[in-house]
């Protein structure tokens, strides 16, 4: 019996058709031969002749094979033949969409992975864009600059400019079309119209609004005449929100008189609803400015040149570069230092773009987050590329056949990239949903100083970013499989099992897993550094005991003008508060720790100061006698203030430990004498009566600066900040306390009522936020890496089933199979960890600014990240390894791979 089928198989060259079709053709041709043979026999031909006739049916097999291939070649649609690229692309899209619908699990995993990556990126980008990237909302923002006066020796100090310097700069600078000054945020009490309310106000020079290109929505903005230094103006411009909230958007508000801090101001205009000054001192705060006053009305505008309290901004003339304006301001600064050495020597004058001033403090944190989430997207893409590669392995024959049928490599590449694109587009659409939800969560959890909800929303830029991210994903996820397939040896894939191609796929998949592990390690190290840094931050002693401590800001009423009246009124407040059951002690201070405001003074040490030389720059506070006991600030030497300290200007001062170390290293400072204020000749000697513990006033992560305290009686504050220590949780007492303070006199406002613990928490909020986000993304990266390892090792187990079966048939134990699989997974992880460690060594340096008392190369963070990743990788290997141990040698050996 002749096996005609085998005969055809032997002689017919490989056809460029699918395996099923090839089988059918072979069967049909074999039938033809068999029939010819049988008919010959039936006609009486001898066996040999019958066989020969059958063989003669085809003769040269190459020609029919060519003809069959030509006949089977699909006719290209007309549109494509005539170069209709789009029509071909539409077919590619349809093809991919059909595939995805038929493989819902694949589609769901790929789209969800990309949606997570793209959505997370869009949400973070939108936040980062609003906080640190977007240009300022004023015309030609690139021309706006900040002009800053810095102390050359202490560049870390907040730069402020004196009013006299500002006037000189404004007069002399020729590269600017305007220069404007802005005061610190000034709290004022609005009274006389309903309940007293504390407003946040700014004193600004008249041309600030015109410089920013802002006009009044109602009425007018300030005029040059309101900038007259010799004649204070009483005009006030209201913010839109104050006008709405307090005056019900009354259009007749213009010309109305407002009582601010017991002075009368006339409303001249209302600003547009969307106006917000972005620069300092507003930048980096959650403050909403309620009212704008002319600089000429500021009580200290005519003060000495040494009193620096203004922020200065300018608009460069068209065509002027930042460097040119910097050069000019530098020259003016040098001139001023020569003219006024007492006050200006040792100061430098700098120009930076206003955008940089606004975004500078958040930029590193924001870019860190953006980089992190970008890495996560890279990992998501790698996972999808891995999925596509796994899929490409399964359909290599189909692709090879299409190539053999004449589909060009470009055409195949396009098809495979289209698959990536369709997935990425679906991921982007789903990602927008993820971004929307993610952004809402971000805005809810982000500290108010960082993200202002009104400024953060998904918009055209976010959409553009999403599209770009999707395109990048399409390329990154689609290219590796496409490259692999297109480069593969089509002939060998057609012929057999295509092991060459599978091996190639596997190498590429392994490389992708190594990349994922490396990226995950970088992110885990980054998150570890931030977590450790945050722990250190929380371990830092703020210098006081914030538990069970309440603070209330208030203001002396107009009825208490003299120092005696204020001292008496404060005493009444203290007595009223102390009478509340549960209250242990009450104190008052001029500036509270962690509230951000500060006042500096020049200090000259007896026996050390040289006339003409600048003194020490110290922080200046006024405190009531029991402030230190109430706050829990320890006394280190000497004594604290007591009730006998009076308004005598030479009454003693307290200094902190840092001042003691800096001013009298190795000496006992108690009894030493100093002068406060410049020029020192005009001020009396004051004796240091004690040393108190350091307090971290500027923030937990900022080292304490030299500091002096003066008694309250010497300088009775117009706006004291009360601190109250209670025996238990002060929460329920807050309302009673506020009412007590208000009841002391008519028109006494109560504001900034905080638990001190909340202030401590708030000071760490931004770091906590960045740390939590980074940790979240690092965890996601860990999961993605785990999935990648699992997928690759699983596929390797499937491909090596025969080998494993053979080994087991030859007596290998299941444990050996387990080791075989584990070895591969752990090897990939090891290489990834090594590569990631190298990358992290370089990248963590960029985080230096974000770290507190932790070095960028902190071994604990590196080790912890490697261990976490190794453990997770082991877990990801375990499941496929377990499967390998259950391989049945018989089944495995019979399998045709």
């Amino acid at each position: 019996m002749h096996n005609w089928r085998a005969y055809v198989c032997r002689h017919l060259p490989p056809l460029a058709v699918g395996p099923e079709r090839e089988n059918a053709i072979v069967a049909e041709l074999a039938l033809q031969l068999e029939q010819a043979y049988s008919d010959s026999l039936a006609a009486g031909a001898p066996e040999a002749e019958a066989v020969a006739r059958a063989h003669n049916q085809f003769g040269d097999w190459a020609a029919p094979a060519r003809e069959i291939n030509a006949a089977e070649r699909p006719s290209e649609p007309r549109a494509e033949r005539t170069g209709g690229v789009l029509s071909g692309a539409a077919r590619d899209v349809r093809y991919t969409a059909r595939f995805l619908v038929r493989n819902p699990a694949f589609a769901a995993i790929a789209v969800a992975t990309l949606a997570f990556g793209i959505g997370g990126n869009t949400a973070i980008f939108t936040m980062v864009d609003a906080v640190a990237l977007r240009s300022l909302p004023y015309p030609q923002p690139g021309h706006l600059v900040a002009i800053e006066t810095r102390k050359a020796q202490q560049p870390e100090l907040e730069p402020w400019t004196s009013a006299l310097d500002f006037f000189d700069i404004r007069e002399q600078a020729s590269t600017f079309s305007s220069v404007a000054a802005i005061s610190p945020i000034w709290s004022k009490v609005l009274s006389g119209r309903g309940e007293a309310e504390r407003l946040e106000t700014l004193y600004v020079s008249a041309d600030l609004f015109s410089m920013l290109g802002v006009n009044a929505e109602l009425g007018r903005i300030f005029l040059p005449k309101e900038d007259n230094r010799t004649q204070a103006s009483n005009a006030v411009v209201l913010s839109h929100s104050l006008w709405l909230r307090r005056f019900g958007a009354d259009p007749n508000i213009l010309g109305a008189s407002l009582n601010l801090d017991n002075a009368a101001y006339t409303v001249i205009g209302v600003l547009p609803a969307n106006f917000r000054y972005a620069g300092e001192p507003v930048a980096g705060t959650s403050s909403e400015i309620d009212a704008w006053l002319p600089l000429s009305a500021n009580p200290i505008v005519s003060s000495i040149r040494g009193l620096r309290f203004l922020k200065v901004a300018g608009r460069m003339k068209p065509g002027v570069s930042l460097q040119q304006s910097q050069d000019e301001i530098g020259r003016i600064g040098t001139r001023l230092a020569e003219q006024f050495p007492d006050s200006n020597r040792g100061f430098v004058y700098e120009v930076q773009s206003l955008t940089a001033q606004v975004t500078g403090r958040f930029r590193v944190a924001m870019l860190l987050l953006l980089g992190t989430v970008g890495f996560v997207l890279l990992m998501a893409c790698a996972n999808v590329a891995n999925l596509l590669l796994a899929r490409a392995s399964a359909r290599q024959r189909e692709i090879s056949i299409r190539a053999a049928l004449g589909a060009s490599r470009l055409r195949l590449l396009r098809q495979l990239l289209t698959e990536g694109l369709v997935l990425a587009a679906a991921g982007a659409v789903a990602g927008l949903g993820v971004a929307y939800i993610g952004l809402r969560l971000l805005v809810q959890t982000a500290p108010a100083t960082l993200v202002r909800p009104a400024e953060v929303s998904l918009d055209g830029r976010a959409l553009l970013f999403t599209s770009a991210a999707a395109l990048a994903c399409a390329l990154f996820a689609g290219l590796p499989p496409a490259w692999r397939v297109v480069r593969a040896d089509i002939e060998s894939a057609l012929r057999g099992s295509g092991r060459v191609m599978l091996a190639g796929h596997h190498r590429l998949r392994s490389a992708l897993v190594v990349l994922q592990v490396a990226v995950a390690l970088v992110l885990l190290v980054g998150a570890g550094l931030l977590i450790r840094s945050f722990q250190r931050l929380l371990d830092i002693d703020p210098g006081f005991r914030p538990r069970n401590l309440i603070t209330i800001s208030t203001q002396m009423p107009s009825s208490a003008q003299t120092p005696e009246q204020r001292t008496a009124l404060l005493r009444t407040m203290r007595e009223e508060l102390a009478a509340i059951p549960g209250v242990q002690s009450v104190g008052a201070v001029s500036r509270l720790p962690l509230l951000g405001s500060n006042l500096c003074a020049w200090l000259f040490v007896e026996g050390k100061y040289v006339p003409g030389e600048p003194g020490y720059d110290v922080e200046y506070r006024v405190a009531s006698p029991n402030y230190f006991a109430t706050m829990g600030i320890p006394l280190r030497a000497g004594r604290l203030f007591d009730e006998h300290d009076d308004a005598n200007p030479s009454a003693g001062i307290l200094i902190n430990e840092t001042a003691a170390r800096k001013l009298w290293p190795g000496e006992d400072p108690v009894g030493k004498r100093v002068k406060l204020g410049t020029p020192p000749e005009r001020f009396p000697w004051i004796t240091v009566i004690g040393v108190v513990g350091d307090v971290r006033h500027a923030g937990l992560d900022t080292d304490p600066r030299p500091e002096v305290y003066r008694p309250y009686a010497l300088n009775p504050l117009s706006s004291p900040i009360l601190v109250i220590r209670t025996a238990m949780d002060p929460g329920p007492l807050i309302d009673v306390m506020s009412a007590k303070v208000r009841s002391v006199a008519a028109g006494v406002p109560v504001y900034n009522v905080f638990a001190m613990q909340a202030l401590v928490d708030r000071s760490t909020a931004q770091r906590r936020f960045v740390m939590l986000l980074m940790t979240g993304f690092a965890t996601a990266a860990l999961l993605l890496a785990g999935v990648g390892i699992y997928g690759t090792v699983s596929q390797a187990v499937v491909q090596r089933t025969q080998e494993i079966g053979l080994r087991m048939a030859l007596g290998a134990s299941p444990g050996a199979a387990l080791r075989l699989v584990f070895r591969q997974g752990i090897l990939l992880t090891g290489v990834g960890i090594a590569a990631g460690s190298l990358a992290a060594l370089g990248l963590t340096r960029l985080m230096r600014q974000m770290l507190v008392e932790v070095r960028p190369l902190d071994p604990v963070s590196f080790l912890a990240a490697a261990i976490a990743l190794g453990a997770f990788a082991a877990l990801a290997c375990y499941v496929p390894a377990l499967r390998a141990t259950r391989v049945d040698p018989l089944v495995a050996l019979r399998q045709d791979c």
Binding site: A36, F58, I68, A70, A71
Partner: protein
């Protein structure tokens, strides 16, 4: 081996499609049967080599003029039968028209039918 008794390969090539379609007009047939029919009905003057027949069938199938289907009849081997599709019928009619016109023109010009 690829020879035809009528020495007009081109003619044969152009007509091959029509011949196969015409043979399938009455009923479905398998490849071997088609080859045999062509050979017997043309009194062996028109011998269709199977090397050309099967690719032709596949081309007609791809053009949706014929439809091939595996059929297993009682007591017989499983074979692939081809039958005309409606498009195949239309194509056959069109072929016939063209040939009729061609032959008419040929007659008029050469009077070869009277020869």
């Amino acid at each position: 081996m690829g020879h035809a008794d009528i020495g007009t390969r081109d003619l044969q090539k152009g007509s091959a499609e029509m011949i196969v379609l015409a043979l399938l007009e009455g009923r479905a047939r398998h490849g071997y049967e088609l080859a045999k029919l062509i050979e017997s009905q043309s009194e062996s003057k028109l011998q269709f080599h199977v090397a050309s027949l099967y690719p032709l069938l596949y081309r007609l199938e791809r053009k949706l003029l014929v439809e091939g289907r595996w059929v297993e009849k009682a007591g017989e081997r499983r074979r692939r039968f081809y039958r005309l599709t409606p498009a195949g019928r239309r194509a056959l009619a069109s072929h016939r028209r063209t040939w009729r016109e061609f032959v008419t023109v040929l007659n008029t010009l050469t009077g070869f039918s009277h020869a």
